[in-house]
Amino acid sequence: MIDPALLYGLTGAAVVGLGLYGFLSLRHLLRRVLAFNVVGSGIFLMFGAAGYRGAVAEGTAGADPVPQALIITGIVVALAATALAVGLILAHARATGRRTLPEDDT
């Protein structure tokens, strides 16, 4: 049967693809920020799967702790970037009454 690390790794890659598609094609800025977070969770899923693969092979107790620590750091950094992006989107909407970047407007 397919081993879990590979399954989660490929799922992570697919989630990155979906998120990237949304990030590049959507025009509503909040949805683009949301797509950015989806890509982030996909990247971390791949990273965790690689960490799990490394630990299972070496037979150590849990999954490799270094990817876990980096993923936690990555999640917090992604939240900080999202919070600033959301703040900018609201300030931009208040100033221009628009939910998209000027060049995306029809």
């Binding site: 979906l18 996909g42 900080a80």
Partner: protein, 307 residues
């Protein structure tokens, strides 16, 4: 094994719905569900600390942040039918290309390589038993210090977006919870329990899953609930106590780092006193993280229009 396949299928379906559906509110709801499912995937991948962080920060706080943004944005720039997407084909091709490359790379990974063995070898000198906390606060403490500064920089950036005459007002939008209502009752029942769980998470982080970020996020949620229930008004931007709380975590971490120069190098924690040092750093970090995350979600001071 079947659970993994089902879980991955659901994660993909919900991610697709979050990205391709109509309407931003529905996308945010699907995003929160995606976060919960991914945190379950972390449990399957034997990474409990990350599952806690993903559920608390990835699904929880980011979800609240986006939901409140959706509500405010509808009022500011609502209405009007317009095209959801632009240049769909190039975006699809680029995304498919990256996904294909990633899968090709993931399948082409050589024999598994990880630092599990090195961490296990160095763990006795790290001062804490939980390997993830050891990596976060000792081996790669420099990353965590910078990460707390990133949070602070994002908050200063959000506050700098305030209107000039609103400066000095209370953070976030004026909340309207019905006095004596259901939310206020909830605001009285949950915080004591939330505080206990948050502090326990930080303390347990030394030996088991948990830590400053997960605990800090729970405390931030308690603070947000108090603000939304109208029981504790959000602090003013200029309040000195607030500013000290914001800076406490990075400042203590930087202080311990500079003190390390006396023991031979920046951020060097001598093994015998590593545990107390790490716990003081974690306590200060939790305080800063809780305050910063709560204020980041509340957003910039807007005394003008209510929620």
């Amino acid at each position: 094994m079947l659970l993994d396949v089902i879980l991955c299928g659901m994660i993909l379906a919900v991610a697709l719905a979050a990205v391709s559906g109509l309407g931003v509110f529905r996308a945010v709801v699907f995003f929160v569900v995606h976060g919960v499912l991914v945190s379950m995937a972390w449990l399957r991948l034997d990474a409990v600390d990350v599952a806690l962080a993903e559920a608390a920060i990835g699904a929880g706080l980011t979800g609240v942040l986006l939901l409140s943004a959706v509500a405010r944005l509808e009022r500011l720039a609502g209405g009007g039918a317009w095209r959801q997407r632009v240049n769909v084909l190039p975006a699809g091709l680029a995304a498919a290309g990256v996904t294909g490359a990633l899968m090709w790379a993931f399948l082409g990974l050589p024999q598994p390589a990880g630092l599990g063995a090195e961490v296990a070898a160095a763990l006795p000198r790290a001062g804490v038993e939980n390997p993830v906390t050891a990596v976060l606060l000792n081996f790669r403490g420099w990353d965590t210090l910078l990460e707390s500064v990133v949070l602070l920089a994002a908050l200063v950036g959000v506050w700098a977006l305030t209107a000039d005459d609103d400066w000095g007002a209370r953070a976030g939008v004026a909340q309207h919870a019905a006095p004596g209502g259901v939310l206020e009752g909830f605001g009285r029942v949950l915080p004591p329990l939330g505080l206990m769980v948050g502090v326990y998470l930080v303390w347990a982080g030394a030996a088991g899953p948990g830590g400053a970020f997960q605990g800090g996020t729970v405390l931030a949620a308690v603070a947000l609930l108090l603000a939304m229930a109208g029981l504790a008004p959000a602090p003013r931007v200029g309040a000195p106590a607030l500013r000290l709380a914001l800076v406490a975590g990075p400042a203590v971490f930087l202080g311990v780092g500079v003190a390390g120069l006396a023991w031979g190098g920046f951020l060097r924690l001598p093994p015998d006193i590593a545990k107390p040092l790490i716990l003081t750093i974690e306590a200060a970090l939790t305080l800063s993280i809780a305050v910063t995350l709560a204020l980041l979600v509340l957003g910039r001071p807007e005394p003008g229009d209510g929620a």
